[in-house]
């Protein structure tokens, strides 16, 4: 890790002034930034610790029914806030399926939205990477690509966005609140993570010096509480990034879907959502075939970026499954294995007999 200046401003203005200097980086929970500094991917000249900025650590229900979450709210606090988890169960489930109890205690909302890709080539400063070092190329192409993007990628970059949290947030149309040298602005979460295109590797839509101060879930986002799930495929039962994940939320009345939300994680450089896929479900009855058709529409145009064609099949099937599970109703209590396709194993199978 390079030497840096550490400062801990006490006001947002002070923080932004410091953050706007060349080479500055904002530090919140540190679970991603510090990690990237240790492996030489991030080399900030100044680390601006924003963890103690006032007023960024609350969860508020606004008068119009929206919910605002401060950028310094911890993942664990948000997931375990009973009002929040009741209103947005898929978000809570996604949060609890990510990382570990320790990391969720440290990680904050803002940092989570800013989380960088886990592409091995991005993480290796010796490898070509347009995202890390624009113009150097993409070493992932032609490399080990089992975990890479299958939709929305370009020859510039085939990385995926690793967050679980952002997937249901995208489905719910969350709005990111940003402050910077030029004042404050709102940005739909759909525009926070930029897809690569022919000319650029994508990345974050924040301008230099800008930081995330909070996130709003619009009033209608609370309308899916009764039919929401987040599911995640991974290489081990817990403490692993998704191979593919899916958030599905439905508003059902009298057996008819009034509105549907559907987003996928692990397939693209951002949470993958398409309103036209959701529109296909509106006015239909929950049904596996319709769900599958929507999932197919969501992944239309997908193509492997390497040895990862199976992810396309998995993504469609997982999206279908998430819709099915959502249609069955939000579980009464958080599953013991959040986001797992498996329910809890019975406990009376020989172990802990005396417990």
């Amino acid at each position: 890790m390079n030497l840096f200046d550490y400062i801990r401003p006490t006001s947002l203005d002070e923080a932004i002034a410091a953050g706007a200097t060349p080479g500055a980086a904002y530090l919140s929970g540190g679970t991603n930034l510090l990690d990237l500094m240790k492996i030489g991917v991030k080399t900030p000249a100044t680390v601006v610790d924003i963890t103690r900025l006032p007023g960024l650590d609350s969860i508020e229900r606004l008068a119009d029914g929206a919910t605002r979450i401060g950028a310094m709210v911890r993942n664990s606090d948000l997931a375990h806030d009973s009002d929040f988890a009741t209103a947005y169960p898929a978000v809570a489930e996604a949060l609890l399926s990510g990382a570990s109890g320790q990391l969720r205690n440290a990680a904050r909302l803002g940092g989570n939205l800013m989380q960088q890709t886990r592409c091995a080539y991005y993480q290796d400063p010796k490898s070509a990477c347009n995202r890390r070092a624009p113009g150097t190329g993409c070493a992932a192409i032609g490399g080990e690509t089992r975990n890479h993007a299958v939709i929305g990628w370009s020859d510039q970059c085939i990385a995926t966005h690793p967050s679980d949290f952002c997937v249901p947030l995208a489905a719910l149309g969350a709005v990111v609140e940003i402050a910077g040298p030029d004042g404050t602005r709102d940005l739909p979460i759909d525009q926070l993570h930029l897809l690569p295109d022919a000319a650029s590797a994508g990345g974050m839509a924040l301008h230099p010096g800008e930081l995330i101060t909070g996130l709003r879930l619009p009033p209608e986002a609370a309308g899916f509480r009764a039919y929401s799930r987040y599911l995640k495929l991974r290489e081990r039962t817990s403490y692993a990034f998704a191979i593919v994940s899916a958030a599905a939320m439905l508003r059902i009345e009298d057996g008819v879907i009034l509105e549907a939300r559907l987003a996928l994680g692990g397939v693209a450089a951002k949470p993958w959502r398409r309103p036209e896929a959701e529109a296909m479900l509106r006015g239909t009855k929950p049904d596996a075939e319709t769900f599958h058709a929507a999932a197919k529409a969501l992944m239309a145009g997908a193509k492997p970026s390497g040895d990862n064609a199976a992810k396309i099949t998995l993504a469609k099937r997982l999206a279908t499954r998430a819709l099915q599970r959502a249609a069955e109703g939000t579980p009464g209590v958080m599953p013991a294995l959040p986001a797992s396709v498996f329910p809890s194993e019975p406990t009376d199978r020989g172990d802990h007999a005396d417990a």
Partner: protein, 750 residues
């Protein structure tokens, strides 16, 4: 060796410590954070060292920016091939036995990613780390050779550390011809990395030509000698302390380059120097399990009896040294067959050199063999357990010798019963749970040789009747601090709390190697013999003392128990150790013992631990996600010194099998040779949630031949059998035969 060495069955001096499920004697230190692992040592004035790693797999380092590193605040020294002081032993030498080449800046060449190319020493860890980064090496790069098809194939003259690559029994062509049913398949296993929780670490300090090193080591006295050779000092001048290893699994026996460089730096700077590997450095110079490609051809007659087993393994090794995963050896001793052909070849790739990793050869070989046997059972239309029973080896298939003991049939029966195997449908895809997930049951046979090496021990009985007993044993988690103390206390006829057990330090008698699952048997035998030596002398004192109630009983006429000698023919006549010593005017009595296998028994018998593992998996039919919902093993491994700890060892091995089957895989970029998952986020090992139910049952087994204690070993047994059991359960659930490990979920979806 002692003059007399009674076997366990007839041995009346065996006390009440062995066989007890005692909790760990080192438990208190480990749960309070006071157990001192190597990197926990902080001698006054210690400097921190970090080595710079090659980012290239093959070529030459052409420049290092030493000035930039030295300019970084806190950096005090940079060692490169230019200024590296000489070593008395060439790091590329292999003096025989257990040795591998290592990289200690002998030249500018680079032979794998992660190889040390410089050592940076600084006042702080932060400065040393950044100093190493600032070296910004440049290279003349040659193309990396990675994978079976990228590397250079060769014929090997050994597997492991010098084992024969080819063993043939009977006439393989005749066996093949005798078969009416034939099976032929190829299985692949990937590179695997040990990844003990404690990264290798060393704190080195010189005092003149005396060297003290705190470093985790599985073979303390052997390693002491090797370190001494590198620095041209007598072995006695090296003190190697390794009271606790944070896991070893085979990766912590041989000196490695970074340790040598740290010792050199400590001498150069005349300061203590500490180096602890980073996790990403655990994917280079500290060995790994080579990848294997195994072709298995099984031939059966009409009744399902094997007529031929042909097992050929191709394994990867490095470009500069040879360690071939001896996977085919699994087929030499597991199932009966009139003809067995086992052979190996190698492929050289640009990785570090593989080495012994928990059940080296056995784990990979068992994985393939148990899958193949399961597939053969399917060919025959037989239940997999029935097929295994029809091919039960009553004598060792390789040598024809009788087994020293083999309760495998009992393991099959107990495991099957506990698991409920009899209800298993023969065909796959027959069982589903309430959620519609596919359920499958599979099994595998566990087998591991009952190795012994050589060890020594020393016991001293003190005037107060307590004793000190010592051997340089190594506890890497298997429980040596406890199990060896139990054996030692029995040898002395004392309660365990009357015995001060010293271990983990090279100043003590050679405790042999904590490896090959033979440490308890070997060091335990030495300790027991040392205690027995003391008791023999004590018995002489008592039985020759006319004042003693034991007078005239003769050495063999007394029994040691709870700090007293009793007459064997009259238990009421006894005398305490302290009284015997006092009456004889003796301050203390010393005994020495050695542990090694009786050569006669070794010649006459085949010696293995056995077991049977049963697995239940659930598989999502559309998504391929797998969860191992039950894993039950039944094992027979001779006398169990501590059932509590042996069970933990077996469970740990079984969970290693789970990791092998479903997740472990070291992936190197084929173009650069760089690990793409060289950390614990990418290299997956099982977590707690992966293991909802695992059980290890133990089958009683008396063995009068393996050693006087009747002890085999349990450290590596659990991983064998388990991989196959899980893979076979995956087939039984899905109908898809896994032939490549780990089993990726996308291979299970239609």
């Amino acid at each position: 060796m002692p003059d007399t060495f009674p076997t366990s069955g007839a041995h009346t001096r065996m006390g009440s410590n062995s066989g007890q499920p005692m909790t760990r004697r080192d438990g208190l230190a480990k749960v309070t954070g006071t157990a001192t692992y190597a990197a926990d040592n902080r001698p006054e004035g210690v400097l921190h060292a970090v080595y710079a790693m090659s980012s290239e797999a093959r070529g030459q380092v052409t420049s290092l920016n030493v000035a930039a590193a030295l300019a970084h605040p806190g950096v005090v020294h940079v060692m490169t091939p230019e200024n590296r002081p000489p070593l008395a032993r060439d790091p590329d030498s292999k003096p025989g036995g257990m040795a591998l080449r290592t990289e200690a800046l002998q030249d500018n060449s680079v032979r794998y990613v992660g190889q040390p190319i410089a050592l940076v020493v600084a006042q702080t860890l932060e400065a040393a780390t950044e100093g190493a980064a600032l070296l910004s090496p440049t290279y003349a790069v040659e193309p990396a050779r990675i994978g079976f098809d990228g590397g250079e194939a060769f014929e090997t003259d050994s597997t492991g550390f010098g084992s024969p690559p080819t063993v043939n029994v009977g006439d393989i062509e005749a066996g093949r011809a005798a078969g009416t049913h034939h099976f032929d398949a190829t299985y692949e296993t990937p590179l695997q990395y040990h990844n003990a929780m404690e990264p290798h670490a060393i704190v080195a300090e010189w005092d003149g030509d005396h060297l003290t090193i705190d470093t985790p080591n599985q073979a303390i006295v052997m390693a002491r000698g090797a370190f001494a050779d590198y620095f041209d000092i007598p072995a006695e001048n090296v003190v190697l302390r390794s009271p606790y290893l944070g896991g070893g699994f085979g990766s912590k026996a041989l000196p490695i380059g970074p340790q040598l460089l740290t010792i050199l730096a400590a001498r150069e700077l005349q300061r203590p120097v500490k180096l602890a590997l980073r996790r990403d450095q655990m994917f280079g110079p500290v060995m790994h399990r080579g990848a294997t490609r195994q072709r298995l051809r099984l031939d059966m007659d009409e009744t399902g009896q094997l007529t031929a087993i042909d097992h050929h393994t191709t394994a990867t090794t490095s470009s500069f040294d040879t360690f071939i995963e001896g996977a085919s050896a699994a087929s030499r001793n597991t199932y009966a067959s009139p003809a067995i052909a086992t052979s190996h070849s190698g492929v050289r790739v640009d990785t570090g050199t593989p080495g012994a990793m928990r059940a080296p050869g056995e784990a990979t070989g068992s994985a393939a063999l148990e899958c193949a046997v399961d597939e053969a059972a399917e060919v025959m239309g037989l239940d997999p357990l029935e097929f295994r029973l029809r091919n039960y080896a009553e004598t060792d298939p390789q040598t024809g010798k009788a087994f020293s003991s083999k309760a495998l049939r009992e393991c099959y029966a107990l495991g099957a019963k506990s698991f409920g195997w009899e209800n298993r449908p023969l065909a796959p895809r027959q069982m589903r749970d309430a959620q519609g997930h596919l359920v499958g049951w599979g099994m595998g046979t566990a087998l591991f040789a009952a190795h012994m090496n050589k060890a020594e021990a020393r016991a001293v009985l003190r005037a107060d009747g307590s004793a000190m007993i010592a051997t340089a044993g190594a506890d890497m988690g298997q429980g040596a601090w406890t199990a060896l103390a139990q054996i030692a206390a029995d040898g002395l006829g004392l309660g365990i709390d009357q015995v001060e057990f010293r271990s983990g330090d090279s100043t003590l008698p050679n405790g042999g190697v904590a490896g090959g699952s033979g440490h308890t048997a070997t060091a335990g035998s030495a300790l027991f013999a040392a205690g027995e030596g003391v008791i023999r002398k004590l018995a002489d004192l008592a039985t020759e003392d006319p004042e003693s109630p034991l007078f005239g009983a003769g050495n063999a006429g007394v029994v040691a128990r709870d700090g007293r000698l009793h007459r064997a023919d009259d238990d009421s006549r006894s005398q305490s150790y302290s009284e015997i010593l006092r009456n004889a005017g003796v301050e203390e009595l010393e005994g020495k013992g050695e542990g090694a296998r009786d050569p006669g028994h070794a010649e006459a018998r085949a010696m293995f631990s056995h077991g049977a593992v049963f697995a239940e998996v659930k598989v999502d039919p559309e998504l391929g996600q797998v969860r191992v919902t039950r894993l039950i093993g039944a094992f027979a491994a001779g006398r169990i010194i501590n059932p509590h700890l042996a069970r933990s060892q077996l469970l740990g091995g079984m969970i290693w099998g789970l990791g092998f089957a479903l997740m472990e895989e070291g992936i190197h970029d084929k173009r650069t040779g760089r690990p793409v998952n060289g950390d614990l986020a990418g290299y997956h090992v099982p977590v707690n949630a992966d293991v909802p139910m695992v059980e290890a049952l133990m089958v009683h087994e008396d063995d009068d031949f393996v050693n006087p204690l009747g002890v085999k070993g349990v450290g590596e047994l659990g991983i064998t059998g388990s991989v196959g059991a899980i893979a076979n359960a995956v087939w039984h659930a899905t109908g898809v035969r896994p032939r490549s490990f780990p089993i990726h979920l996308e291979t299970l979806i239609g």
